[in-house]
Symmetry: C2
Subunit: 252 residues, 2 copies
Amino acid sequence: MATVYAIANQKGGVGKTTTAVNLAACIAEAGYEALLIDMDAQANATVGLGIAKDSEPSVYDVLAGDATMEEAIRPTGIEHLSLVPASPDLAGASVELPRIENSEVRLREAIAPIRDRYTFTILDCPPSLGPLTVNALVAADRVIVPVQAEYFALEGLAGLLDTLGLIQRELNPRLTIAGMLLTMHDGRTRLAQDVEREVREHFPTLVFDTVIPRNIRVGEAPSFGRPVIHHDPHCAGSDAYFELAKEVAARG
Amino acid sequence: MATVYAIANQKGGVGKTTTAVNLAACIAEAGYEALLIDMDAQANATVGLGIAKDSEPSVYDVLAGDATMEEAIRPTGIEHLSLVPASPDLAGASVELPRIENSEVRLREAIAPIRDRYTFTILDCPPSLGPLTVNALVAADRVIVPVQAEYFALEGLAGLLDTLGLIQRELNPRLTIAGMLLTMHDGRTRLAQDVEREVREHFPTLVFDTVIPRNIRVGEAPSFGRPVIHHDPHCAGSDAYFELAKEVAARG
Ligand SMILES: Nc1ncnc2c1ncn2[C@@H]1O[C@H](COP(=O)(O)OP(=O)(O)OP(=O)(O)O)[C@@H](O)[C@H]1O
Ligand SMILES: Nc1ncnc2c1ncn2[C@@H]1O[C@H](COP(=O)(O)OP(=O)(O)OP(=O)(O)O)[C@@H](O)[C@H]1O
Ligand SMILES: [Mg+2]
Ligand SMILES: [Mg+2]
């Protein structure tokens, strides 16, 4: 059973990359084959796994038709976890892709030949609803929406759900929302409590039970090029990501 | 003397909107005329000032040629502070703009007739280096780069400076970097201390002395539709933004 998950939210800095890297690492830790594809020109997921951001071939070369996905897949040093790196060239893809006929299915077609080798394929999206995120949402079976426990992230959710609905109707009818994930939640603040209550009230069936707490070890991990579940396996951030992986697998 | 500042960084969630809104509000508080233009489809600066995000005409209508900047400027309820709102349509502009001849000067040309009415014009940019941010960097005299005190924000700086150099050489030779602003800095963490030291070592002349601390009152303010300097004028976040405004004015 092979499932493709997109991690998407146009709001910036809400924990997309942190969730993509750690969810993929948890799945690999449980012995399943996982593939992480970094769709963001910032290449944070690539760097967060200790891999250089100008590695070639990258996902840009695959979308441009200059390499197959097979050629772009590389090991990460973590057993059962492979990566397709991003590159800064992706910044150009947002302008170049729309000029190509049927450009929104490029990623889905590139993943098709290798998809069944991985129980989970995780797509880390940039902070926009442009052509790269659309490509990811067309290639995905399910989407996880990280929601930072802050006002702007809450405020943008309705617009994001409208866009997801549009993608489901026009481009990918099988896309479903796996869930909304509350991130950087500092339980001591009223703001985080208020945001959590609002999200659970407005979207009762869509919010994961697991909440990712704000935890400094999570912010430190990328500077070591490792997921937090390896940087500090017993910190609150790691515990939460292990819980999330169980919940994602259970929701199917 | 009229100066246009772009607040830009492709990294998401680093405090661009919070800086744009509060810097503009501090300048207005000091009695100077300030104009804030929201260039982000999320319309967070618009919402952060308590204005509806589907207000018309918006900056999208101005860029599309359907309205003048004059028609899109509206009061904010804060003396000396005016706003040009964003709208969700801006998401389409990233794809539409590049199809128009000379599209990168649209904003600069639209601002020209009204520019001299405001001592400061502040442009809040989306988390990308796409056509909207390019438009803002072409229209601007100076750019302020918020840098969250986190690893990914630090790691992306070199790439951002390369892009700014490209814009200066090809599109806007008079653009200069006003400075890098450390944001969400939690002095108790080693991570924030390390990031601050790295940024000041790598870019000794470019970093503002003022550092914006992580401060929950800053995160609460948008839910009241007000800048933090009005929501809680004596909190650490407000003190820092007043300091920043003084430093920006002094750097000229
Ligand atoms: N639970 C957490 N606790 C503390 N820090 C966190 C947590 N999750 C993420 N961070 C930090 O917050 C910042 C933003 O997270 P991240 O980069 O994963 O968000 P993103 O949505 O991928 O951002 P972008 O929109 O730029 O792609 C990063 O510096 C990250 O290390
Ligand atoms: N100094 C601070 N202390 C605490 N919270 C802050 C601070 N500055 C910003 N925030 C909060 O952090 C979040 C990110 O800030 P903001 O939205 O201003 O960043 P941005 O760079 O404009 O994001 P985007 O890339 O999505 O445009 C917001 O919820 C904001 O309220
Ligand atoms: Mg990211
Ligand atoms: Mg913003």
